[in-house]
Amino acid sequence: MVTLDTTPIQEWIESLPKNQAFETLEKLKRFNEVLFTDPEPEVGQTPKEVIWTKNKAKLYRYQPYKEKTNKVPILIIYALINRPYILDLYPGNSFIEYLTDCGHDVYLLDWGTAGYEDRHLKLEDYIVDYIPRAAKKVLKTSGAKEITMFGYCMGGTMTAIFTALYQKKLPIRNLILLTSPIDFEDAGLYTKWLDKRYFKLDNIVETLGNVPSDFIDFGNKLLNPLSNTVGVYVNIASNIDNEDKVLNWKLMQKWLNDGVPFPGEAYRQWIRDFYQENKLINDELVIRGERVLLSNITANLLNIVATRDNIVLPQQIEPLNDKVSSKNKTLHVVNAGHVSVITGKRAVAERYPYIEQWITENSK
């Protein structure tokens, strides 16, 4: 048997002078490791317990044994696209960890991964059958009299609809929306690409059943094709010797490539009623026979806009503040993108404390 002893070669490489060419070689080696051989970082590490399940959905309570100094629990509703661990990405870079460490009682409704059998689930099924029950479970588990609802992206749109429908039935004290589209009059490139004349929505839903995550991801990447394809690799290559940046890059890549299928009927409703017909802001959206009036919302409102967001544009978010009846309403504009609004160094340093303080002040 022939064996190749590479030790002399290794020793020879190590004996080479540490010049720039050698550093480049080292960087190339590291770049290769990051792309192909390094293990994926562990995400969603904040301790949690499941307090309720329904179909594929799970309701988590975070750090249940930690002392809760804030009396109003927070229920986070995530989108039907991608996974919610972006809110609990990594220790020290986790919105949920930050809130629980500050004494808040945090719950998250994770929709799970829709199967082919869920292709008939509509958006209204999630809003009427899942969210109110989850809110009741949160109130019961925490023993609280009121609740804070927190929605991110499309989850925020669903949360706003839920609040409009259930404001009088459930004690919703605060409503926090993070880059959540409400007005679809001008959704940028999506308005053009999802035009009824070109985008064959019914054919897509009927053929695919559930819409695959790659299909949705393709549309998102197309918004900025160079930056989202070549740019991400150039970015990591130029920061390959910075371990913090490498870790963040790996975390983001893991999350971006870990999408979930969008239940077919919910996708049809989302594209048709929102992007194509813009029903919500015009009080034309009907959920299980009930008209959704955003003016029914009286909860304290914190509406967060990210100026560099190219997925949900600022003009899609801002009009909500004019529609609601809340006496206490804040439109908070931050210089961030759709994801960097809630993850990364600036989010940890600026956004987390701001949101936490707002919740604390409005929960007394």
Partner: protein, 150 residues
């Protein structure tokens, strides 16, 4: 003297930055064109047609091979989901009923407690009235005793 060297990453970044600044506007302009949306729609239609063909072929093969199709497996899964949702509903109803019973028990406890208080008062009053009726009786009995002894 510094050694001249070749940094592939620096070169890559330089090429990318220059390319991006040149192409960005042109790409963005293209993406915004109506014709682009139209082409995108056509590509989607072709993709859907292809997918439909694959679905039909797969389904027909699975049926011939006597293997359950995706629809059939999904139907079984739906039955499980339905059972899950019924259990969830039962759990909700059970919780509501339990809450109602606990409330009723609490109300019963309160009314029993107030009944006890009322009974205590009645007993107190009875005792007092007994005491007042016993006093004149004892004085009458004493007078009678005196008369008998005389």
């Amino acid at each position: 003297m510094s050694q001249s060297s070749f940094d592939v990453f620096a070169l890559w970044k330089e090429i990318y930055n220059r390319t991006e600044s040149v192409w960005q506007d042109a790409i963005q302009e293209t993406l915004e064109k109506k014709s682009f949306a139209e082409s995108l729609g056509q590509i989607q239609s072709q993709y859907v047609q292809y997918q439909e063909l694959v679905n039909k072929m797969t389904e027909s093969y699975l049926k011939q091979a006597n293997i359950p199709t995706r629809d059939e497996i999904a139907n079984v899964a739906s039955l499980i989901v339905n059972v899950d949702s019924k259990i969830d509903q039962l759990e909700d109803e059970f919780d509501e009923e339990r809450e109602r019973i606990f409330k009723e028990i609490d109300a019963l406890k309160k009314s029993v407690a107030s009944l006890e208080k009322k009974l205590d008062k009645v007993i107190d009053l009875l005792n007092k009235s007994l005491e007042t009726t016993e006093e004149p009786q004892t004085s009458v009995a004493a007078a009678a005793n005196k008369a008998v002894s005389k």
